[in-house]
């Protein structure tokens, strides 16, 4: 981890932290180009992540595009072949289905298909996690990309991580999918380093130490899992909480060394549980630590349905579901 000065200002949101990461990187490297719908002023991106950047760096570098996701990502890939570093904003994660070809068939595979000659280090930023718009603006699709060799998958859970991990994506020699969660973009504030600040991809963060069970999660479920750990502590169960931060590369070392001690594990995520990231992590733990486990690894993912609109319906993991799952292991 490289850290410059700590901010002495008031705490900032993840949106402001991401804006800072882009600002710092664009100031240092004039080859960084942003592409996306409505990202230039006066809008500054519908989630305001690129607010002010077109004024500072010009509309040549902060380019508002037509609504055309295939061309947004394809142009980013071509810019990478031409020596630039493009950051493509896909407004909602669901829209990535429109440009899936450019992300998984091109960006993810160009290095491999050319024997290493034409890497395409682009960053695709996208937003997930609100059912206020219904099922086509809410899906957690990270497993699709974990299943595609060649692209890093990153999902921060806090403002500081949002900045540090985005900076790492911008510095990466490989394509990165950077997934932002809408519930975290504005709500949580914390102090974030003001200058260059990056967190290496593939390093999980142990948020809370514990001896009885390991809770493995990432992104928007981090605060939910932390609350569950509090409730478990009140019941005398000490849970260790791991925020994976990146799903590819996935920090199996941190996961396995924790579970080796606690001998119990629950994986929690907002993606659909069936064939979700938890299935792979669970299987990996079983293969490596079968003889150490006191009980089978559990998963708490979203129920098998599209994300419902009505607030009366929700398949998301909850504190109660997580606590219940842990209690079944004890």
């Amino acid at each position: 981890m490289t850290t410059t000065e700590r901010s002495t200002d008031t705490a900032v949101t993840s949106a402001a932290a991401m804006n800072s990461a882009l600002d710092v990187a664009m100031a240092a490297d004039d080859k960084i180009i942003l592409l996306g719908e409505d990202i230039a002023e006066p809008t500054g991106g519908v989630f305001k992540v690129s607010k002010g950047l077109s004024t500072k760096y010009g509309v040549e570098r902060v380019r508002s595009t037509p609504i055309a996701e295939q061309a947004i990502v394809g142009t980013a890939v071509g810019l990478a072949l031409g020596g630039y570093r493009a950051v493509a904003e896909i407004m909602f994660f669901d829209f990535i289905a429109v440009c899936m070809d450019q992300v998984v068939n091109h960006a993810a595979k160009f290095r491999y298909m050319t024997g290493g000659a034409t890497p395409t280090p682009i960053t695709v930023r996208t937003v997930v996690g609100s059912s206020r718009f219904g099922a086509q603006h809410a899906q957690s699709l990270e497993a699709w990309f974990m299943h595609t060799p060649g692209i890093n998958v990153v999902m921060p859970s806090s403002p500081a991580d949002a900045k540090g991990l985005l900076a790492a994506c911008l510095e990466s020699e490989d394509p990165c999918l950077y997934i932002e969660h809408i519930s975290l973009a504005y709500s949580k504030k914390e102090e974030v380093p003001t200058g260059h600040y990056s967190i290496p991809l593939g390093q999980a963060n142990v948020l809370r130490p514990g001896r009885d069970v390991t809770l493995i999660t990432y992104g928007p479920q981090v605060p939910v899992v932390e609350q569950a750990a509090e409730e478990l502590a009140a019941k005398g169960i000490e849970a260790e909480v791991i925020d994976l931060r990146t799903l590819v590369p996935l920090d199996f070392d941190t996961v396995l060394s924790s579970v080796e001690r606690t001998r119990r594990a629950v994986i929690v995520h907002e993606a659909t549980q069936f064939c979700g990231p938890g299935a792979e992590i669970s299987s990996h733990i079983h293969e490596e630590l079968f003889n150490e486990l006191i009980a089978p690894v559990q998963r708490v993912g979203s129920d098998y349905s599209p994300v419902p609109f009505s607030s009366a319906l929700s398949g998301y993991p909850t504190v109660a579901k997580i606590v219940h799952s842990v209690e079944e292991l004890m």
Partner: protein
């Protein structure tokens, strides 16, 4: 040939015939392409080449014109039907054939195959196996060139059937909106796999679509090497001067099946025979001799040179080692440590 008219065809203009060196370069490229293509098809049919090979027969004149116009500073994005494009851009036939055979000396160490040739040193940037997907990528390359201050052209080649996919329209829109230094080269061979153009396009004059994007467009007889050379040269120079994109429809005819081993008895006999009468390399050979642009002796020397070049490339490819099994895990990411921990 189908019934369509070449209403906007530019014809050979005697006043714009290039020098002998360019003409001979074009002829050499056409003959080399034809010979290498025929040999690849033979090898595939004999079962010695285990590759889905996509012949370029019929497109040789367009490729030769590209080869005569483009410099290594100009960049090209091509498609899976790419043998002639790759040769035009200066990729060696040895490295192309080694890639077709999946060998370590191939352009991609044998890991890409015939649909993923590249040689960035000569500006042959990428080839894609997904129809139409190269166009947005070429838009990105053209944007990079524009941001760099211009002076070079980005060329993207694709077949007529690629004009049906959304990526084509998105790329055309971006290029026109941002006035990018790009030339869209539609190698219209009049077939989308097994479907004739009139059965998938309401207007078979694809150049007309460019006007919807306020883009300059030309339609040219793609069997006429000199006419094609002229329109490509004009479009590439426009791009180099940063005067915006051009769409060129080069009308040819696919002289073989969709892939190297596929049956193509579905192609109407009379159409195919008419097109074979205009087979680009022999047609150009006749033109050069009849007009006294070169001699029969020079042509025969160029034929022998091309035969030797093709023979050497196939021998080189067959003798090249297979990639070591360890290559499976390299080049997935810049660093392969994590990849190896996953397997």
């Amino acid at each position: 040939m189908s019934e369509q008219t070449l209403s906007h065809t530019t014809t050979t203009d005697a006043g714009s015939i290039p020098g002998t060196d360019v003409l001979e370069q074009m002829y050499r490229l056409m003959v080399t392409t034809t010979l290498a293509d025929n040999r690849s098809t033979q090898e595939a049919k004999a079962g010695r080449l285990q590759a889905a090979f996509y012949p370029v027969r019929g497109m040789e004149a367009v490729c030769a014109a590209l080869g005569a116009v483009l410099t290594p500073q100009d960049r090209m994005v091509s498609t899976y039907r790419n043998l002639g494009d790759a040769l035009a851009k200066g990729v060696t036939l040895r490295s192309i054939m080694a890639e077709l055979y999946g060998r370590i000396d191939g352009t991609s160490k044998g890991k890409g195959g015939p649909m993923h040739l590249h040689d960035t040193a000569v500006g042959f940037m990428a080839t894609t196996g997904i129809v139409g997907s190269g166009l947005p990528i070429a838009v990105g390359l053209a944007l990079a060139n524009q941001l760099d201050g211009g002076g070079a052209a980005t060329v993207v080649t694709f077949g007529d059937a690629a004009t049906s996919i959304g990526a084509y329209h998105e790329a055309m829109n971006f290029a026109a909106l941002w006035k990018l230094p790009i030339v869209f080269i539609c190698q219209n061979n009049q077939w989308g796999e097994h479907t004739p153009i009139a059965e998938y396009a309401p207007s078979v004059e694809l150049a007309k679509r460019a006007s919807a994007y306020s883009m300059h467009a030309e339609r040219v007889d793609g069997f006429d090497a000199l006419a094609t050379l002229h329109v490509i040269e004009t479009a590439v120079e426009r791009a180099r001067r940063n005067e915006g994109p051009t769409f060129l429809e080069c009308v040819t005819y696919r002289l073989t099946g969709h892939s190297g081993t596929a049956d193509f008895s579905y192609v109407p006999r009379d159409e195919l025979e008419a097109a074979m009468q205009r087979d680009p390399a022999p047609t150009f050979r006749t033109l050069l001799i009849d007009r006294g642009l070169t001699t029969s002796e020079r042509i025969e020397a160029l034929d022998r040179e091309a035969e030797a070049y093709v023979l050497d490339a196939f021998q080189f490819a067959e003798n090249s080692p297979l990639p070591h099994e360890d290559e499976l895990f390299s080049d997935v990411f810049a660093n392969d440590t994590w990849v190896r921990s996953v397997k």
